[in-house]
């Protein structure tokens, strides 16, 4: 018994199946393509949003207020300690620099600051934290750690902003996951139903196969390959659609949202990673759909 002959038969049977019921398979392929197109768009939008959150997160700095009486070498030692603890860069802001900055931020009201008898602002170290340490939990821990250092009088890291940004990102991720699960479920149901129709159309052939001694696995294999092919074709159509979408609508979207999204928006719509993900997802969708169909309908 030749394995090659069997594989060749499965392939001929699966492609023959696609030709045998073109409309049914067209529906399945289109459904997979639409689902993957939507997933691809969501994925691209998601990565743009990640970029946005990262860029906003980059603006969150930890400000470490220092005791005014610290000598320059003590400040320098603290700066080194801070950089080691946070994995980021610390820049010293002297009291007079801080006052100037405040005056600038206050605009016309800034003149009032010159009336003060002395500069009330302490020296500070502005610390930019590495992106992977910008979660609320890690920032809180870092803040406590820094507060305990001698010469540090206070720490501020914009706790509320960080927590809000993180909550938004999590909500979007969760919403995306739920939507993706619903689309995935619906797609599997449709793929499975269309394959059941294809199996029904070939019931006579299956009956004869069984009569001449085909095993269940032999009967099922071409349908699983058919499902896999449907999924891969659906993925190819979705990738084509995403590419066309990127070419036609991409430039307009980029110019509309460039103020928000920054440099990430200039990335191509179909990246190699996304293409691989969609091809894998398409194949998996087709396989799972056909697996359910042969399991439910092909009780041979």
């Amino acid at each position: 018994m030749s394995a090659l002959a069997k594989v060749s038969y499965f392939w001929r049977s699966a492609t023959g199946g696609l030709r045998h019921s073109p409309f049914v398979h067209f529906i399945a392929i289109t459904t997979i393509a639409i689902a993957l197109f939507a997933a691809g768009l969501a994925r691209t939008a998601g990565s743009a949003l990640d970029g946005l959150l990262a860029s906003l997160g980059g603006e969150v700095e930890v400000t470490v207020y220092l005791a005014p009486e610290l000598a320059e070498d003590q400040v320098e030692a603290l700066r080194t300690q801070l950089e080691t603890a946070s994995g980021g860069r610390a820049v010293l802001v002297k009291p007079e620099e801080a006052l100037e900055r405040l005056a600038r931020e206050l605009g016309d009201l800034g003149d009032a600051l010159s009336q003060l008898p002395e500069n009330p602002l302490p020296p500070s170290l502005e610390l930019s934290v590495a992106p992977e340490r910008r979660t609320p939990e890690l920032l809180e821990r870092l803040s406590l750690q820094l507060r305990a250092l001698p010469g540090v009088t206070g720490v501020d890291y914009g706790r509320e902003a960080v927590e809000r940004l993180t909550a938004i990102a999590r909500a979007l991720q969760f919403g995306g996951l739920v939507a993706f699960a619903v689309v995935l479920f619906a797609t599997i149901i449709i793929v499975s139903a269309t394959l059941q129709l294809a199996i029904y159309a070939r019931r006579e052939e299956i009956e004869i196969q069984k009569l001449v001694g085909a095993t269940d696995r032999f009967v099922k294999a071409p349908f699983l390959i058919e499902g896999l092919l449907q999924g891969l074709l659906g993925a190819a159509v979705a990738l084509g659609g995403l590419w066309a979408f990127g070419q036609l609508v991409g430039p307009t979207l980029t110019s509309l949202f460039s103020f928000l999204l920054g440099p990430t928006s200039s990335e191509p719509m179909v990246r190699a990673g996304l293409a691989l993900e969609l091809i894998f997802a398409g194949g998996l969708l087709g396989l799972v759909g056909s697996f359910i169909a042969v399991g439910r309908f092909l009780r041979v």
Partner: protein, 230 residues
């Protein structure tokens, strides 16, 4: 080759289709199963290729007890049994050659080997010139010959034919029966279910008569033919 011991087949709520069937078929025998419609001929054949399961009793095919066979082992049993149906069961969208090759495809035989066997088989049934025709373009007799070629291409030890001439005119009936006889002469055990008494008289083979699910007679060909003549 085939042994049936006290075999019963019944469907829930109905009287038994087969009752207390005891049958022994030797290797290379040709047997007619006869009886009126509803006597249980088709069911008996179905039990032999595991198209149905016996309710009670033991069935040995080639020394293997198929009353207790696992589902997964049925395909391997069927590879040794060719089956011919009255309604042909050919695939209309495949050529004659592809229909016959179907059995070998299922067994994973390489294409070149399969093609050679298929042509040899089509030659045996006299249809080598129709290899690339489609079944619906053939006469009933030709279609039945394709079915026989498909059933025999894998060299089965047993051939079961359920009313193989039921849809054919007398001339084609003789043609098909001659072919089955020839297959039997080559060593294949043949069981033919038929209610056509002229066949029994013409071919004079061992005849098992079923009525209402019981075997009512089991006679050699001469005796059966003589009884038919009376």
């Amino acid at each position: 080759m085939i042994q049936m011991f006290h075999v019963y087949k019944a469907y829930p709520g109905d009287p038994p289709v087969l009752s207390d069937i005891n049958l022994h078929v030797e290797k290379g025998e040709f047997i007619f199963l006869t009886g009126p419609s509803g006597a249980g001929k088709t069911t008996l054949l179905k039990l032999l290729f595991c198209g149905e399961k016996a309710t009670k009793g033991q069935i040995l095919v080639g020394g293997r007890n198929i009353a207790r066979i696992r589902e997964s082992a049925i395909p391997y049993l069927r590879r040794n049994i060719g089956v011919v149906f009255q309604d042909f069961k050919l695939l209309p969208q495949r050529t004659v050659e592809d229909n016959v090759a179907f059995t070998l495809d299922v067994l994973g035989r390489p294409r070149a080997e399969a093609r050679e066997k298929v042509h040899r088989m089509l030659k045996l049934v006299g249809l080598e010139h129709k290899a690339s025709s489609y079944p619906l373009r053939l006469s009933g007799g030709e279609q039945q010959r394709v079915v026989i070629a498909r059933a025999l291409v894998n060299d089965p030890t047993i051939l079961l034919a359920d009313e193989p001439t039921g849809n054919l005119d007398p001339a084609l009936t003789v043609e098909i029966m001659d072919l089955l006889n020839q297959v039997n002469i080559r060593g294949t055990t043949v069981l033919v279910a038929t209610h056509d008494s002229t066949l029994l008289a013409r071919y004079q083979k061992r005849t098992v008569r079923l009525e209402r699910g019981f075997i009512v007679s089991d006679e050699d060909g001469v005796k059966a033919a003589r009884r038919m003549a009376v």
